[in-house]
């Protein structure tokens, strides 16, 4: 469970090259970002980490690292 691994999964979910993402990437400013990506991120968090991310969690996040903080803290909470 590392942020690098999370970035790979995040990139795959939203169909961008993993090299275009870094922890400090403002993912909602990506040209291809839209509401379908929101669903893809929720699905990825469920399938790969077994946690439920909400629409509000994604609204509140700015960077990929913010999303990783949400997912990793939910993983700890469910352990």
């Amino acid at each position: 469970m590392t942020i690098e691994d999370f970035i790979d999964k995040f990139a795959f979910a939203i169909e961008v090259d993993t090299n275009t993402l870094a922890p400090d990437t403002h993912f909602k400013t990506l040209p291809s970002w839209d509401s379908l990506n929101t669903l893809a991120v929720i699905a990825m968090a469920d399938a790969d980490y077994g946690v439920t991310v909400t629409g509000r969690d994604i609204e509140a996040a700015t960077t990929v690292a913010d999303m990783w903080a949400v997912v990793s803290s939910k993983c700890v909470a469910t352990e």
Partner: protein, 353 residues
């Protein structure tokens, strides 16, 4: 919840408008957005009513089909329940108008229920319980919506998702029928996830004879207060986190495990949601029939539409677990047996009654 015993499902029919509207032709999304939309939702086309056709018309077409299929005299029907969120008018209840249009007897009880995507398990519970406790011999459960009539066409978050459909399920008192088990849930704290904010008294808006004015929502989409607002991400996380548990509870109440059911029938909101739920419950894709590709999200009617769109799978008796989830938030699951050849193929009809 207790089982509903001694009530048999006899026939299921679904009717959709004939007109096909394709995702590929939706100009408010660019070609790449359309491709991604289709991949995520699974929707390539939908059936949309022309102005003038109502949910009641589609349900009536389906009701006629089940009556004819079973050879039932309309005079033998003791209950007609319609579940819809797109009735003909605010008052009176559309089901009562349908009692007359279907020439059902005046001894037939009729009322509407206001539910959406969770309608089918709720409907089976309500109609099954009434048949059983009131000793009603035969009943019709009608479930349908014309969601296209309440969505703004330029609203990318809602318009390309919904198809229109109506359905009819015939149920009968039968001491030998296998039990129906249900699990029914509600969470009003999620009311804003799918809402038509105007038109009711709580909106504090002018009554309907005032002009409806467009306003821009927090998502940047222009709508008027009579339009449906859908927050897809909230629905998505609700569905994948809370629906599997409901299905599990209905299955364990029935004393059957996932492998004992022939098919899992899910509300057709989104392919990603349903793939996730099926995976969590251990149902392989070949045991999860779909209709979303050709009919879209048909709201309350989605489970009967999915049955009818796959009618060939139901030539023999089948055990089914079905789950509906969405607007409310409201969700529920039901386990039941469908007798051989009780599912009629989808009917395309533009009939208006």
């Amino acid at each position: 919840m207790n089982a509903i015993t001694g009530v048999a499902l006899r026939a299921v029919a679904a009717a959709t408008p004939a007109r096909v509207v394709r995702t590929a032709d939706y100009t408010y999304l660019n070609p790449d957005e359309r491709r991604r939309f289709q991949k995520a939702t699974g929707i390539s086309e939908r059936r949309i009513v022309a102005a003038g056709q109502c949910a009641s018309d589609l349900c009536l077409t389906a009701a006629k089909a089940v009556l004819e299929h079973l050879g039932w005299d309309p005079a033998s029907i003791g209950a007609l329940i319609l579940i819809t969120q797109t009735g003909d008018q605010p008052v009176p209840a559309t089901s009562i108008v349908l009692q007359d249009k279907l020439r059902l007897p005046q001894s037939c009880l009729a009322f509407d229920i206001n539910l959406g995507c969770s309608s089918y398990p709720y409907g089976l519970a309500v109609v099954g319980s009434m048949i059983r406790t009131l000793g009603i011999a035969r009943a019709l459960l009608l479930v349908g919506d014309v969601s296209s009539r309440v969505c703004a066409e330029h609203d990318k978050s809602a318009w390309p998702l919904f198809g229109d459909a109506g359905s009819a399920t015939a149920l009968e008192l039968d001491e030998n029928a296998p039990p129906i088990h249900v699990d029914l849930c509600s969470d009003g704290a999620g009311k804003d996830a799918i809402i038509i904010p105007g038109g009711g008294l709580a909106s504090r808006l002018p009554p309907v004879d005032g002009h409806l004015v467009d306003a821009t929502g927090s998502d940047g989409v222009q709508r008027h207060a009579g339009n449906l607002v859908l927050r897809g991400a909230d629905i998505f996380s609700f569905a994948i986190s809370r629906v599997p548990g409901s299905i599990q509870r209905a299955m364990s109440a029935s004393g059957r495990a996932a492998q004992d059911f022939d098919f899992l029938l899910l509300h057709q909101a989104n392919k990603m949601i349903n793939d996730t739920i099926a995976r969590k419950l251990g149902f392989a894709p070949d045991r999860v029939p779909t209709s979303i590709e050709h009919y879209g999200n048909t709201s309350s009617a989605s489970i009967p539409v999915t049955l009818c769109a796959n009618a060939e799978l139901f030539a023999m008796p089948r055990w089914v677990v079905a789950s509906g989830f969405g607007v409310g938030l409201s969700w529920g699951s039901a386990t039941f047996q469908l007798p051989a050849a009780s599912v009629l193929p989808c009917i395309a009809s533009d009939d208006v009654y």
